[in-house]
C-alpha cells in the first residue's frame, strides 16, 4: 500500500527525472520500508519522504538541463543579459491536480488546528518561551531597577514594586496600552493566585538549575496554596514577596526571585533585528561607547568614567584606545558611579588590563568555563601593576558590580564611594503574565570568595564616602600613595 502511494507521489516529478530515476527511487523506498519496520521508524520514513518531496520536486522543475544551458550560454554575448530556459516540459495535469488536492488538505488541516487552538489557551502559552530567557541571560546584565535597596537601605525582598527588566539598550519597550488591569494597585482573586502559583511552580520545576530542589520548591508552592497560606495576600508586590519567600524556605537562593511589575510587561518581546543592532551601533558611536571621560588628572592619575559595559564587538576599538591613552599613568581611577551594567565580556575585557596573568572573574550568570578568565596579559599594557581605584555609588549596578566585586575580592582595587545597587541578575527571566515574572538561575558559577555575592546587598566600598565626594577622596588617596613610594 505504502509503495503504491509513493509511486503515485513520484508522478509529481518531471517526466525526465521519472524516466531516469523513478524506478530507482521506488526501489529505494521499497528497501527502506523493508528495513524500517515498526510504528516510529515507519513514521520517520514518511516524514523523510514527504520532506524530501517538498524540497526536491521544485528543485527538479528548476533543474537546468545541461544541453539547454550550454546552448543558451553559447548564444549569449558577453555582458548582455539573457533568459534561461529552465525546463522543457510543463507540469502534467496529474501533477497539477495532485498539487491542488495537497494544498487544500494542508489548508484545511491548518484552519482546523487554528480553530481548535483558539478555544483553549494552555497556561504554558502564557509563559514566555525559552528563547526570551536565553536572550535575557546572554544579552547583558540587564539594567532593571536597583531594587529599592539602593537608596533606602531596605532589603530587596521587602521592596514593593520592580520595574520591568530592560533586555538591553535597544530592545523592547513596555507595550503601550497593553490589555488588562490598570497600573495601580491590584487585588488578586483566589483564582488569579492559583493561576500564578501553578505557573510559577511549573517554571521553577522545569528550569531551576538543581532539578531536585526545583521540584521541591514547586511542591512547596502548591502545598502552601492548597493549605490556604496565600489567602490573606491580595496585593501584587506582597504576593510576589510571599511566593519568593516560600521558595527560599526550601532553597535559600537569593538569585531566585518572583517579582511584581507595576508597569505591564510586554507579552511578546520582539526578537532583536539587524536594525536594532545597527541602531545600537549608532548610539554607541555617538556616545563614544559610554566612555564619558578619559583623561589624565594631576599627579599623572589616569581617570576613566565609563557608564555601561558595551558590546565588545562594537566597542573594542574605543575601549582599546581609552586604555592606551592612560597607559603611562601611575594610578588609574575607574569611575563607575553612573554605570548600570552591560556585557560580562566587556567587564572581562577591561579587567584584563589590570593583571599580568589570566585571572578568574566570577560572573554569577555564566557557568564557569575557560572564558571566565581574563585575557591577560594585554600586549604593550603597563597598567597591570598600577594602583587602581573604583568609584561606586548606589546607582552602580549589575555588570559594574561584577567589575567592582571581583577587583575588591582579588585585592586589586580600592573601592571608594557608596554601597552598590545589588543586581546580580544571574537568573534567566520568565514572564508569568503581564505583572508577574521570575528570575531563575539556570547556571552554576563557582564563587571562590564566599557563598554570598552582591545580589540584593550590593558591594561594600573599602572607603565609604558620599558618591559626590568619591572622586576627590580617591585622588587624595592616590596622591598619598604615590608620595609614600
Amino acid at each position: 500500500m505504502s509503495e503504491k502511494i509513493y509511486a503515485w507521489l513520484l508522478r509529481l516529478y518531471p517526466s525526465r527525472f521519472r524516466e531516469a530515476y523513478g524506478e530507482e527511487a521506488l526501489q529505494l523506498f521499497r528497501d527502506r520500508s523493508r528495513d524500517e519496520t515498526g510504528f516510529r521508524l515507519r513514521l520517520r520514513l514518511w516524514a523523510d519522504v514527504l520532506g524530501d518531496l517538498a524540497l526536491s520536486v521544485p528543485r527538479e522543475y528548476f533543474h537546468v538541463h545541461p544541453g539547454l544551458a550550454s546552448f543558451s550560454a553559447h548564444l549569449r554575448p558577453e555582458g548582455v543579459p539573457s533568459f534561461f530556459v529552465f525546463e522543457n516540459e510543463s507540469l502534467g495535469p496529474g501533477a497539477l491536480v495532485f498539487g491542488g488536492v495537497l494544498s487544500i488538505a494542508a489548508l484545511v488541516t491548518f484552519s482546523v488546528m487554528l480553530n481548535s487552538g483558539g478555544k483553549y489557551v494552555p497556561l504554558s502559552a502564557l509563559i514566555r518561551p525559552a528563547h526570551s530567557s536565553a536572550k535575557a541571560r546572554s544579552s547583558a546584565f540587564d539594567s532593571s531597577a536597583p531594587r529599592a535597596a539602593a537608596n533606602t537601605g531596605e532589603k530587596a525582598s521587602e521592596s514593593k514594586e520592580s520595574q520591568p527588566p530592560e533586555m538591553d539598550a535597544t530592545s523592547f519597550q513596555p507595550a503601550k496600552g497593553a490589555a488588562g488591569r490598570p497600573y495601580g494597585s491590584v487585588k488578586l482573586s483566589a483564582s488569579e493566585r492559583r493561576r500564578i502559583v501553578e505557573a510559577a511552580a511549573a517554571i521553577v520545576e522545569k528550569h531551576y538549575v538543581d532539578h531536585d530542589n526545583g521540584r521541591k520548591m514547586a511542591a512547596a508552592l502548591r502545598v502552601h496554596e492548597k493549605n490556604g497560606d496565600d489567602n490573606q495576600t491580595t496585593d501584587g508586590p506582597e504576593f510576589a514577596a510571599l511566593l519568593t519567600q516560600q521558595m527560599r524556605e526550601v532553597t535559600p537562593d537569593r538569585h531566585l526571585t518572583l517579582d511584581y511589575f507595576k508597569v505591564p510587561l510586554p507579552q511578546h518581546a520582539p526578537a532583536p533585528t539587524a536594525g536594532d543592532f545597527a541602531r545600537y551601533r549608532e548610539v554607541m558611536k555617538r556616545e563614544s561607547c559610554t566612555f564619558e571621560k578619559v583623561e589624565v588628572l594631576r599627579s599623572n592619575i589616569g581617570y576613566l568614567k565609563l557608564n555601561w559595559f558595551p558590546d565588545v564587538s562594537v566597542c573594542e576599538a574605543t575601549a582599546r584606545a581609552a586604555m592606551a591613552s592612560l597607559n603611562n599613568a601611575d594610578v588609574i581611577i575607574f569611575d563607575l558611579r553612573d554605570n548600570r551594567g552591560g556585557e560580562p565580556a566587556m567587564v572581562s575585557f577591561m579587567a584584563a588590563y589590570l593583571f599580568d596573568h589570566p585571572e578568574y572573574f566570577y560572573n554569577p550568570r555564566e557557568n564557569t568555563t575557560e572564558e571566565s578568565w581574563t585575557l591577560s596579559p594585554v600586549a604593550g599594557n603597563r597598567l597591570a601593576d598600577k594602583p587602581v581605584y573604583v568609584l561606586t555609588s548606589s546607582r552602580t549596578f549589575s555588570g559594574a558590580e561584577q567589575f567592582s566585586y571581583n577587583l575588591k575580592m582579588l585585592k586589586r582595587a580600592t573601592l571608594v564611594g557608596e554601597t552598590t545597587g545589588g543586581g546580580a541578575h544571574s537568573g534567566a527571566f520568565h514572564g508569568i503574565d503581564e505583572h508577574f515574572g521570575m528570575g531563575i538561575p539556570e547556571t552554576k558559577a563557582i564563587n571562590p570568595y564566599s557563598k554570598m555575592d552582591w545580589a540584593e546587598i550590593g558591594v561594600e566600598p573599602d572607603v565609604k564616602v558620599n558618591a559626590a565626594n568619591a572622586l576627590e577622596t580617591a585622588v587624595q588617596l592616590a596622591q598619598n600613595k604615590l608620595q609614600k613610594k
Partner: protein, 116 residues
C-alpha cells in the same frame, strides 16, 4: 548548469562524494552510508539523492557502472556509482575548505580543541 549548482557544493552532494570514497555503491547503499557517516542526522530521501546523483553525473564527479545485483538485498538489479578522479579532488578541496573554516572557528573560541 551543473558547475553553478555545485558551487558552493551542497552538503548532500558532498556527503554522497564522501560515501563513495571507500567503495562503489548503489542508491540505497549511498543513503545508508551517508546516514552512518552523519550519525543518522542526514537521511537522504529518494528525490534529493537522485537529483544530487544526476547533478554529480552531469558534472562528471561520479560515474555510473551499470546494473548488477546486491546479494544482500535480493535479486533486483541496481545501478552502481563510482567516484571519478575529479570527484575525489573536489571532495578533498571541500574538506580542506571546511578545515580552514574550523580553524577560524577555533581561533574565535567557538569551538575548543587542539588539532586542525
Amino acid at each position: 548548469m551543473p558547475k553553478q549548482k555545485l558551487n558552493p557544493l551542497p552538503s548532500a552532494a558532498f556527503q554522497i562524494l564522501l560515501a563513495l570514497v571507500g567503495e562503489d555503491l548503489h542508491g540505497y547503499g549511498i543513503m545508508r552510508q551517508v546516514a552512518e557517516q552523519t550519525d543518522g542526522r542526514m537521511r537522504l530521501g529518494p528525490g534529493t539523492l537522485y537529483s544530487s546523483v544526476q547533478t554529480l553525473l552531469e558534472a562528471k564527479l561520479i560515474e555510473e557502472l551499470g546494473s548488477r545485483e546486491d546479494e544482500k538485498l535480493g535479486s533486483e538489479r541496481r545501478r552502481y556509482y563510482r567516484l571519478t578522479a575529479a570527484g575525489r579532488k573536489l571532495a578533498r578541496s571541500e574538506a580542506e575548505r571546511l578545515a580552514d573554516l574550523l580553524r577560524v572557528a577555533r581561533s574565535k573560541k567557538i569551538l575548543r580543541g587542539e588539532y586542525v
